[in-house]
Amino acid sequence: MHAYLTAAMFTLMGFAFVASTLLLSRLLRPSAPNPDKLETYECGPLPVGDAWQQFNMHYYLFALLFVVFDVEAAFLYPWAVAYKQVGLYAVVEMILFVGLLGFGWAYAWRRKALEWD
């Protein structure tokens, strides 16, 4: 319970810190906007079009792989704390589990899911 209270307090403190500094800055800084200043920066020339347009980010497969491997890591944390009490059986189970994942990983590589282009 105290852990969550402390975590909430740290988050709140982070928010308050940024907010109060920005507020202080707002009181001190000048403000003289003009259209040229508010233009999107593209190294001098006038920007062509929006940045918000469709392009292939190629993240979908990486996101899938990430979920698989990160969930695996999250599963293995409790295992890593307790496996010394369980003994050989636990180690064999873990190596089987990681081996299965390794098989999936090799399949992904074979299907060229790990290429970035």
């Binding site: 852990a3 982070g14 001190l28 999107t40 996101a63 290429e115």
Partner: protein, 376 residues
């Protein structure tokens, strides 16, 4: 002509070396002061008022978060000065010199300048996301410091799942970076933010698995307990065959998580201007910079806790030792930064998925076996 140039270069190098020496002397004085300060704080801890605050859960949490927030902000002032000085030394130039003794107050002057700068939100930007992004970057950064043990008792909270919590929270920084990249409606920013997100997510996997290797050897996830086990031998010494490869993997992944060279693709200045914070100015920009350096300290601190004996060391008190080791590791990261050139995007992703992920799984299995049979 060439000879004259060479002597000039040597002179400059000598001056820079002199400045580094001065910095080291200053550091020694700081350490002495810090030790005295530590004992003073320990004495103040016993007074009834502070004891009362410590007992009260809400006041306790408030006081701790307030102290940590101040530490996070102020240590960055020193780290930025140190990075610039160190970079100057590596490139045979002087670095900051004029504001304060050896340019020590340069970062303070920079902070004041940023505070007084006009704030520009581009007309085409998504105003809300643009404003929220610095919060999203700074809040998780501060939250990670909650579980970082400066000593057995100098820790925000001895969280049972500390290591996992630290990894989970520190990844959230990429959310803020993505918000900044998308919100600015600038092509450079968008590419930088997208790269940062892909990179942080990809390197999170081997990072989590290498931390898992340490957890398997230690048998606990709490950072305080992992640190406390190393009172005699550091992990990297006691379990050298598995922990040295684990540390190398950890360092590579940490550099990528921190968007630091050779993995600074999200803000690659030669191709993306300055990446996701291209459109930011003034204090909002300062928070990205602050969070970057604070994260750097945090990752180094995590490595110190996991591999380098945490707060244990002779003579000086625990928190001081922890800080020395951490700043040493941060300096090593700076060294890498000014030595190694930047990766290309496809190389960076390929290196992670094809080399680091299988390597970290192998190291993890090896340390599980090591913990099972050799350690006993």
């Amino acid at each position: 002509m060439a000879a004259a140039n060479m002597t000039a270069g040597q002179d400059r190098r000598a001056v820079a070396a002199g400045q580094i020496t001065a910095g080291v002397i200053l550091l020694a004085a700081l350490l002495a002061l810090a030790s005295v300060g530590y004992h003073a704080v320990e004495r103040v801890r016993d007074t009834p008022v502070v004891a009362f605050i410590g007992e009260h859960p809400l006041l306790n949490a408030f006081a701790k978060s307030f102290i940590v927030a101040n530490f996070v902000t102020l240590h960055v002032l020193f780290l930025i000065w140190w990075e610039r000085k160190f970079a100057g030394w590596m490139q045979a130039r002087l670095g900051p010199k004029h504001v304060g003794w050896n340019g020590l107050a340069q970062t303070v002057a920079d902070a004041v300048k940023l505070l007084l700068k006009e704030d520009i939100i581009p007309a085409k930007a998504d105003g809300r996301l643009f404003v929220i992004a610095p919060f999203l970057v700074f809040m998780p950064t501060l939250l990670t410091f909650m579980v970082l043990p400066f000593s057995a008792s100098w820790v925000g909270y001895n969280f049972g799942l500390g290591a996992l919590f630290a990894l989970a929270v520190s990844t959230n920084v990429s959310l803020g970076i993505l918000a900044a990249g998308w919100g600015a409606n600038n092509k450079y920013s968008l590419l930088g933010g997208a790269r940062a997100c892909a990179q942080v997510l990809a390197y999170e996997v081997p990072l989590a698995i290498t931390v898992l290797a340490v957890v398997a050897v230690s048998g606990t996830v709490s950072l305080v307990d992992i640190g406390a086990q190393q009172s005699r031998w550091w992990n990297i010494v006691a379990h050298a065959p598995v922990m040295i490869p684990a540390f190398v993997l950890f360092l590579i992944c940490a550099l990528a998580e921190l968007n630091r060279t050779p993995f600074d693709l999200p803000e690659a200045e030669s191709e993306l201007v300055s990446g996701f914070h291209t459109e930011y100015s003034g204090m909002r920009f300062a928070f990205f910079y602050l969070a970057e350096f604070a994260n750097n300290f945090f990752m180094a601190g995590l490595a110190v806790t996991l591999f380098f004996g945490g707060w244990f060391g002779p003579l000086l008190p625990g928190p001081v030792w922890f800080t020395i080791k951490t700043v040493g590791l941060v300096t090593a990261m700076m060294w890498i930064r000014w030595t190694v050139p930047r990766f290309r995007v496809d190389q960076m992703m390929g290196f992670c998925w094809k080399v680091l992920v299988p390597a970290s799984l192998v190291v993890f299995c090896a340390s599980a076996l090591w913990g099972m049979w050799v350690q006993r």
